[in-house]
Subunit: 340 residues, 6 copies
């Protein structure tokens, strides 16, 4: 099986039960997730040799985060232990017209304070086929941006394919800084993944006639966004997820894959949402899997969108689905009939 | 900040978890609510100096009810302690074609047995700007009706605005008695609030061409209901909520505000329901807030409807939303996208 | 009240909480159910003298299963105790495009190992009016098929009406074996119940122009299926449930009753699903109740479909609704408004 | 099997989870119990034909109480349905030096408002061998005292043995009234059961040199109490439970049975408490069982004490133990080793 | 009622359910506490006008912490809002030989980053009678030590009594720094509270012949410790708690109060532990209450120890007991008999 | 780190919450365990390269069991997938005089049906230092006994140390068969582990003057049992655990290690029990760890007993403690004071 290296942060996710608001909660569901860790788990679920790279505190809360990755088959042997704390994010699940709410409490985490010398890329990249990271890591600080840069350089040196999910987070950095740092990293990236807003937020490439707040996307216009991204940054391929938010309970979900020559649009799914956090990450993992399996572009984008469609029906950040389950949906059975 | 006095009952609400029926329950979620207490908490959430007036037993179950109000910022210093029991209502949450079920066990509660002399209105109404009550209180018994009457008279004497939510409860009194008692109280009421059935149940003013059971409301006809209510009872303003029940899981929700000259209709929301109990109360609080803030009528009704739309996405009787959250929805962002 | 005897298996149902997948679960909701036990409980809820016949192990897990039946008013005096284990089924609830998943762990259960001599039909059938079983029992093994055969013969001998829900389970036997065994049992059956696939799976009678996976059913074509079933097997009446699966969260639901002369189609319900397991069983119980009450065919099929519509809003296998609640929906009130 | 009739009230018991205090609770464990219902369930667990007589409201909360009795094998066919509400008691579990706290909310319950004509004793007492009631019932009101009197008279008329647990409740009536009413009922009672305080509270018969608050009981002195009770009221046998409270977590527990000739003292158990509510009731049931089985006095008192010792290790009011489990402890195996 | 000002930090406390270890937890009980907040809540429970001073972040997690204080009657009007995060502590409850485990994650909290100018002591100390703080606050950083110093000076200026619980935390600062800073603050402190190790850790005053790890304390020797503390630092009174740890499940608990002339030893309690966190804080609150009520020294120390004995039977940091409950135990009723 | 291979079965453990009895449970805690899997997890917690050998069904319940082992660091690469079901055991936790109850439902599990050819010992034993199994495996059937024999032979061939925990289970086989099969396997075993009853049950070697049911053990007599076992079966070392059951809540716990020359007795612990299942397995793991670390005999037995003492304070089968935690207790700190 191919070997994929993912670099990033895993956080403790604290969420009130059901649809309770933060001020109502007397207990919090404690799971673990983070954009890149989510990708790593998805890939392990598909049978890929998936290794996650991060830094975790030495205490039992750090152990618990590591255990969660290990539980789902992720290789944790290269995780560095040290530093002071595990980053946290509080999640309040939205419903109907009430949006989900995320409060980050990640400052000062072991990963945010990690240094370039914490990671031995020569050892990490042994036998590796793919390297994945997201725009959240460089946004954590110059030290983490430097780690990403080092990892990218080392990956390129070894001919490893590099993918990046732009994942712009406005609370972590400004658009200007994001443009500068991501622009530099972009030169090492083969495959770029973005959502319906990232390209505009980071690179100022906007889609015409789309109203993200109003839930109306102009699919065709995103073709141009993809092409422009590819040209401007030199990405070989660009994938864009297209989420039309009807409400916190119901979304439409599709994506396109631009290969330099052509755009491939997926089927669109109408989703009744269980938990939409990690939707984009599950898409990235599906896309990486399609590429690693040498699927045709249309097949790859259908797999990635079907995988992430299923994620919306699963509690927590992690996409607990097998490749077989994704293919069943991709092949047309979305009727949800009981499987006995 | 303005000061609002709300008079009424707070009960222990006992509900099976999730969608369990009463006969399946082995534990009950214990929260607290009641039409008027729900209004008081909403107003406190908007930053209003909100004081709740009731009578609670001296034991720890009474303490717990009082604590819940205090927790959410309601002024509880005028709550009288004494009597035998806290009223209870059992709630079974409906879904799809199965309706929610309410079983009242409130007879003999401290509030139901309260006497006119329990409350010192001179002290309570100090610095007050608004007095709110509902049609449930006078329905509890002649003693409670007398308390309402006394409070209304004292409020009027001090130039305090009086609002009343008609809230007809057929299990508490007959239409005839309701008409007589509410008719008398109406003379003190400035602003009347009603749902799509109350005007008909109490005052025999019906809307043409509406089928409440079938979920089909003739919005325009309610304009006439409002005008008629206003004329017949001398209300300065009349607000009517318009709920079209598609099922226990999905409702349409809107309202109108009649100001004597004109009717202002709100936007209509299509809601996927988490908990619809307290929907009308959150509307009342929104309306009072709009009036206290001197919003224009259209703005007031939009605020009130957006506030109560959000309530439907929140567990329990109480509407845990801030004025900012209401304004965000009112200004058009109902797409439920994650707020990070 | 009429007395109905139902023969079959009751299992421990183990389900992760909410929408958790099996691999996420750290606790399992433990309820009890099984196609035939579900029918028995529904009938007891309607006030029928409902007796359930099975074999349960003597230990406390067996006690708990028996207690659950007794709790809901089923007569358990003829349940045989002995054998090694209670059958189990694991249920993972689906959502949106993700289907529900059932893993059976029923091999070796006390009922599966039961013998013809375990049951004394002369005693069991005293004062009985109706006998019901399903196609799952004969599929458990030749010994259980023999028990069904014996019960059918004994019922017929006493002029007791016999109903059978075909309930084909592909993991328990082949279509060929099912055809042979069910064909033999069919001679004793007065009323046959089937879903949109059973007739085809067992007797090769297929509906034209229907796409079960795609969620598109050709209602009219099922009229022919019913007529053919009736002719081929000699059933006096045939009822077919018609489920159009939009997703694991939303289904359309209807049914037809063929009386030999004519087909009666029910109203179609659009259901937002809480738990769809036991949906067919609640239909069977509704149908048996309609027949026992001597309802007209249209009334019977409306009762059965309304009953099973409500089941989809209830957690667990068992349909906790009264005949009054069913009649209220059947008479048109499906708006789900709060019943206070 | 002998048939025992128990008359009394069953209530909804609402208890915070674990050791939470009332003011901390956000959910309440909902079980059902009451002194007499607890006896009825224990007897059913021993295989006795146990019938419970009470009045329950017709709504679903009443259904749930009835279902709980039926679940554990109690015959509920003579339970009368009607009236307004199910009585409630709130229970906060104590620990170490903090006592358990009970808040009664039972006024106005269906049973408290029941009338003599609600019960047809001729039908109820058919084939009955034993009638049991407690001092709580006559304390509920003159109407319920009259029901008890009628039941006692009817029982006596038929030669049915009558047992009564004195169970003095100071919040329900005064010592004077208790003395008068219980004195009258006593003439029908064959076997009297009391705890270490009842005889003193009701009949003014006190034990020398015992300090109940301090947890020091003078066992021998209770022999005199029993003899005096027997003489004064004409009881054939008197049983007294002897609880030495070390703390809310640890108790010593023993009892004596006085047969007119002699006192039989049981072994004393040192108990680490899970839930002590219902401890006395489980003793009554054990005593009745011993008498019905014609056990020797020493055997009877050992059975009753072993049974109630086990109750203290079980959550809820009800003693879920079999006669075999009681006999195992009675025969000396209290080491708590795992039974595989 | 007297008015008490308490300065300190309130944290989110995250604890696995029951006796689960951190690595087993999938949900965490979310309550709030901290040495000083615990004192504030206890005092409010005794009817004292208790005001808590801290800085909390503006987001909903900060709201929830504030609400918890308000819920239990603490005056929160002087709490400053701002900064980045709420401090957290993870708590794993021990049992038998396994100790409880605390992992602090409080660095960077709003309170830890608070500045002297955040607090307006002139306004805060209006009508105040008492000021309480603990050694944890100055350990948080020089800025917080400066806030404590400012508060102490302002309190002294107004003749307000000052109490301080030494509360040495070895993970926050060294013994040397603690000695220097606490030594300086000590000049403003009237009443000093310490546990069996604090005096030694901070001021090097050790008790002879005590073995804290082995659970053997030499009570009499602590008399000298108290006298020495008083002399060395100029405290008017010194109170020392004396915990003999038998295991994580069982402790002995007592204390002494030294008044300059004499030492008053309390009764010793043998406690079966529910939750021992906050034990010392509940002692401080009891002591302050005794002083405010002008109890005699023996009465004061008995109240403080009885109060904190009860705390060990209550879940969470906060001591939910009334003064009446404390007095009942202090007066000798520790038998834990059910209070009906 | 040394590498240890453990062969055996892992089961789904289903336990009612808290102290609920089976008949009260509506949800079951789902964890995983089994005598040998418990040893494997303990060793992984100590940092040993621990590999578990078993056969698990391919479905998601099998996945979940495998994930649990992986989560806690056990090497699962040699686990064979196939067969029909995961074995189950139901556990009801006892308290005070009520014993814990285990109901096995393991017949027909994948492991019980495994064949000799399922396992490739040459591959499994690569780089292995130790092989551990228990008497439960050969009791599962002749096929599993044959697997054990093969494994033992292959281990011996490679000079791998072999340990065996006798673990007699009377429901799985007779004493006669156990004696025969275990006698044969014994020739390959270097280190034998037994509890206070095993030696007698299997080899008829009994301890004088001990009363296991009464909770009185004659420690010295077990020295002879160990010596006799060693002589009779040729074990190099024999370890015997000594449990004195006071009740289901309190036990005394100690052990001895016989090395051929001498017996080493451990300290005795008085334990307040959280969960005693897996106590013996955690002892085995501690013993193996001590041997692998070349601890002196006294140190080894103290480590093993301290480790298993801690297990009794942890929920579930698995002993979630580190070697450091064990050493801390072993070195004398059992006071359970909070570790901050």
């Amino acid at each position: 099986m191919p070997r994929v290296i993912t670099l990033g942060e895993i956080m403790l996710r604290l969420a009130p039960q059901g649809y309770n608001r933060f001020v109502q909660a007397t207990s919090l569901e404690a799971t673990y997730g983070g954009a890149e860790a989510n990708v790593a788990v998805s890939l392990a679920n598909y049978g890929i040799a998936s290794s996650f790279i991060t830094k975790l505190p030495k205490h039992q809360i750090g152990d618990a985060a590591l255990n969660e990755l290990r539980r789902y088959g992720v290789d944790v042997q290269h995780i560095v232990r040290g530093g002071d704390r595990l980053g946290i994010y509080y999640l309040e699940k939205g419903a109907s017209q009430r949006p989900s709410l995320v409060i980050y409490d990640r400052a000062g985490s072991s990963m945010q304070k990690a240094e370039v010398e914490d990671f031995d890329w020569a050892q990490i990249f042994q036998d590796a086929d793919w390297f994945h990271f997201t725009g959240i890591s460089p946004a954590l600080g110059d030290n983490v941006a430097a780690i990403c840069m080092e990892a990218c350089r080392e990956a390129k040196k070894r001919g490893i394919t590099v993918s990046c999910d732009l994942n712009y987070r406005k609370k972590l950095w400004t658009k200007e800084k994001a443009a500068r740092v991501m622009g530099e990293l972009a030169q090492y990236v083969d495959i770029c993944i973005a959502n319906e807003e990232d390209a505009n937020d980071i690179f100022g490439i906007s889609s015409e006639h789309s109203d993200v707040v109003g839930g109306q996307l102009n699919y065709k216009a995103y073709q141009k966004v993809a092409a422009q991204l590819s040209e401007q940054c030199g990405f070989k391929k660009v994938a864009i997820t297209l989420r039309s938010s009807i409400s916190a309970s119901d979304n439409k979900w599709a994506a396109l894959l631009y290969t330099g020559q052509q755009s491939y649009f997926s089927k669109e799914y109408k989703i009744h949402i269980v938990d939409r956090v990690g939707g984009g990450d599950s898409f990235s993992a599906g896309l990486i899997f399609g590429e690693l399996m040498d699927y045709a572009p249309q097949q790859t984008i259908e797999f990635a969108v079907a995988a992430s469609c299923l994620k919306h029906s699963i509690e927590g950040d992690l996409n607990h689905v097998s490749a077989d389950e994704v293919r069943k949906l991709m092949d047309g059975d979305g009727s949800g009939r009981v499987s006995r």
